[in-house]
Subunit: 488 residues, 2 copies
């Protein structure tokens, strides 16, 4: 690395913030850089590889793989983008009645219809009202619009909370392993300590309170002050959905131990099994009788996931409850330094939390779009899961929710040695070989964390349904060849 440094420049790899160096984010890391190179090679030199396209299974980015947006959402956004359209009769043939109505409603709530103005630093009040209503409809417990901070996707919200909680490396955040690496990256950037708790792969990525306790005690014994517990439900990269009973235990644990509960609930609309249901941690807390004074809770939501999958809009919010007024003021101040999140993202977040309802003209077609996407995702999850489980030395838990599978590969000793010789981890070695042979891009388990000595990769369930057989056959053929080459 240092060889590319230019000593005459004032900034070099040796004098930048070491926290930046420590941060890692494998979802767009080394394997993806390789994929982009291969893609350019295919473009300039077709036939240069054994495959004719790169199949990106590395990131939860549905629209990039052909998933279509929900028509109603885009109609409303287009009208809000150019409000003078609403004064033209011609729009009646172009936009649905419900979209025109909703856009007019939203614009009426914005002084001067000025979607080009900075809003309140927490987001437009009336959009937060709509989101609070949506939360109430979901949970059956009230939500306060003043608790909602609209953000450019969930990631900046996670950073804001980490910034608040972490002062030094003595501040710890309990994070699941495996975890979505935004958490490890954000903790590293803010100079805190990630306190790992391991999900139990054998019980379908189960979350055991005894494990939380053990890791909390171990961190304390090292002088770490553990500030918060991060939970991703449904799980990323693991795809499990927590049971209500498990969630109650977690809430109780946070209350007892004085931990802020950071609930990453961005996959709340992605559930694929009939026996599981999404429950927000706020709903669970309130139904246990815990109120504002009992538990500090942050719930993260995003427009990037669900059946909407609007990653490019960078919309999302956090709902914070159980924070004192003076701490909330500090959060508001930090939000105000960045002025506000983008207004289209704010509007979309209000739509996602308040989609068309029974009685709306568009309701049926909206449901058809939504259910089409969700049922297809469910089928893709099942197909991929079965495919992984049919491979030699591979086991894979069910994707009950979210957008990923996280299969475990028992790699032969010979493969581990080959990885060592190639100066990389065994899972990266496997993923790199897979990419070079098939064009399929998955992320090595080491990017998410895994029990030492076990190897995994994360594979999204997002390629178009008609491409799934191709993904399966490429993966299967590669895996057979790989095992034949490296079997001990």
């Amino acid at each position: 690395m240092a060889s590319t440094s230019n000593d005459s420049l004032p900034i070099s790899i040796h004098n930048i913030n070491p926290k930046v160096l420590e941060c890692e984010y494998a979802v767009r890391g080394e394997i993806v850089a390789l994929a982009q190179r291969l893609e350019r090679e295919l473009l300039t030199n077709p036939g240069s590889h054994a495959f004719d396209e790169i199949l990106y299974c590395n990131i939860g980015n549905p629209h990039s793989l052909g998933q279509q947006p929900i028509t109603f959402f885009r109609e409303v956004l287009a009208l809000c983008e150019h409000p003078s359209l609403l004064e033209r009769n011609e729009i009646n043939g172009l936009f649905s009645e419900d979209a025109i109505k909703r856009a007019s409603q939203i614009l009426k709530q914005i002084p001067g219809k000025a979607t080009g103005a900075y809003s309140h630093s927490q987001g437009i009040k009336e959009l937060r009202d709509a989101i609070a209503e949506g939360i109430k409809a979901r949970d059956d417990f009230p939500a306060d619009p003043n608790d909602i901070f609209l953000t450019n996707g969930a990631s900046p919200a996670v950073h804001m909370v980490m910034q608040l909680l972490i002062s030094t490396e003595k501040d710890g955040i309990l994070c699941p392993i495996p975890q979505y690496p935004l958490y490890s990256a954000s903790i590293a950037l803010h100079g805190g300590t990630l306190v790992p708790y391991y999900l139990d792969e054998a019980s379908g990525w189960g979350l055991e309170i005894s494990e939380l306790k053990k890791q909390l005690e171990s961190a304390k014994s090292k002088g770490i002050s553990v500030r918060a517990l991060a939970i991703i439900n449904p799980g990323n990269p693991t795809g499990q959905v927590l049971t209500k009973e498990n969630q109650e235990q977690i809430v109780k644990f946070c209350k007892q131990e004085g931990l802020v509960l950071l609930a990453d609930e961005v996959y709340q609309a992605n559930i694929y099994v009939p026996d599981k249901k999404f429950h927000s941690f706020k709903k669970i807390s309130r139904s246990m009788g815990y109120g504002e004074k009992d538990i500090s809770l942050v719930s993260f939501q995003s427009v990037s996931k669900g059946y909407y999958g609007e990653c490019g809009k960078r919309g999302g919010y956090m709902e914070i409850t159980g924070f004192s007024a003076d701490v909330r003021e500090q959060i508001y101040k930090v939000a105000s330094v960045n002025l506000c999140s983008n207004i289209s993202g704010q509007i979309l977040a209000s739509l996602v939390m308040n989609p068309p309802k029974v009685g709306d003209h568009i309701y049926e077609s909206y449901c058809a779009e939504r259910d089409g996407i969700l049922s297809s995702l469910g089928r893709r999850a099942k197909t991929l899961e079965a495919a992984f489980n049919s491979l030699e030395n591979v086991t894979c838990n069910k994707a009950e929710g979210a957008m990923y599978l996280f299969p475990c590969i028992k790699l032969p000793e010979k493969a581990i040695k080959a990885a060592e010789a190639a100066d990389t981890t065994p899972d990266t070695f496997y993923c790199r070989q897979l990419l070079n042979a098939t064009g399929v891009v998955v992320v090595p388990g080491s990017g998410f964390g895994q029990v030492a000595g076990t190897w995994h990769f994360r594979c999204t369930i997002l390629p178009r349904e008609n491409k799934i057989p191709d993904v399966v056959s490429r993966l299967t053929d590669f895996h057979k060849a790989f095992m034949n080459e490296y079997r001990d």
Copy 2:
């Protein structure tokens, strides 16, 4: 403050990150909170104050005060928001031919027209190509799309650079005083040291190299390692536009002293005097013969300012030159943790840097909109400047550019005593009285920094032109009454 804390909760004002506590951002601070309260009171109880509306002159948020968006930009954004519109004939009556052409062009560059997908972490490559072309047309020197990082407005870009440069409180950033408080806030949040250099009010907020040198030496003598020099040109809150000669001196100084030059150029399109012109620092550097290996330079640009004023879109970019490949990799990695900036903001940034050209059907009407806004802003700046200069004890430099005036008020001793009694700074005291008496919201100079013992406030030039006489008469009447009350 502590009285609002709840001791049973794990997070209190006493155990959050002290860097968050240190951060200040007056542009949305105490005075604005008071204004919002008064506005609510006017709504629920009309006639409860001596004025019937709040006039926000605190923030550069043009659309919130009635400035209309550029039609062409919004047409393109609406079409990109809902790409299936382009398949419908009805749009020909609703959208300009040029907007349809540009939207089609842009969508063709996005695989699957997927404006709902995460893009490359630096932004969509083809939009960066367009921005690079725009920079080249502006500067007459080439720009590399790989140097461009699209961001959600300029603020996150500034944070990214501060995060890179600041490791400890021993890392200093030279910042103008007065400064836009994003800089002081970001330096505080990242735990660095703001090294002030004072702009010379007497010479129209001049920037003297001798002052830079003096402050640099003084910081060094305290063990501060100064990493960068931040320049805001045109100036915020001060409105001056640097001369080419002055810029050349600055570039030379950065080169000699090994400082990264952070050029806040978000007001590049806001120039109101015939004898000044905007020159980017990159253009100046290149025209001096300084290349990639001579100077490290970051230029910040935003869609929020200029004649476009699209604050709510959160679009912007930074162009980084003179950074080694390994440091750039680190910047890319940090950008990738947040995936990408919002696509509408990205598209708008490409439009702002590549507006309609001679020969386009829409060119004339686009120019009429643009020039109408800019000439009106120029007139408003002049009127307000004259008004301030006509007040007793007030002097005000010209707003050559940007969107603000920063008048100096010599406050009588009696007013300073009254402020002391009210437990606030004299400038805050003045601004609070002004707000309570007139509904006009300005930001005290102490939020930006000022020479000790001098008092200022920042006033935007953004109220609608037909409201300016009202602003002037409210301000004038208030100031006379204030002086009559407090004159020594």
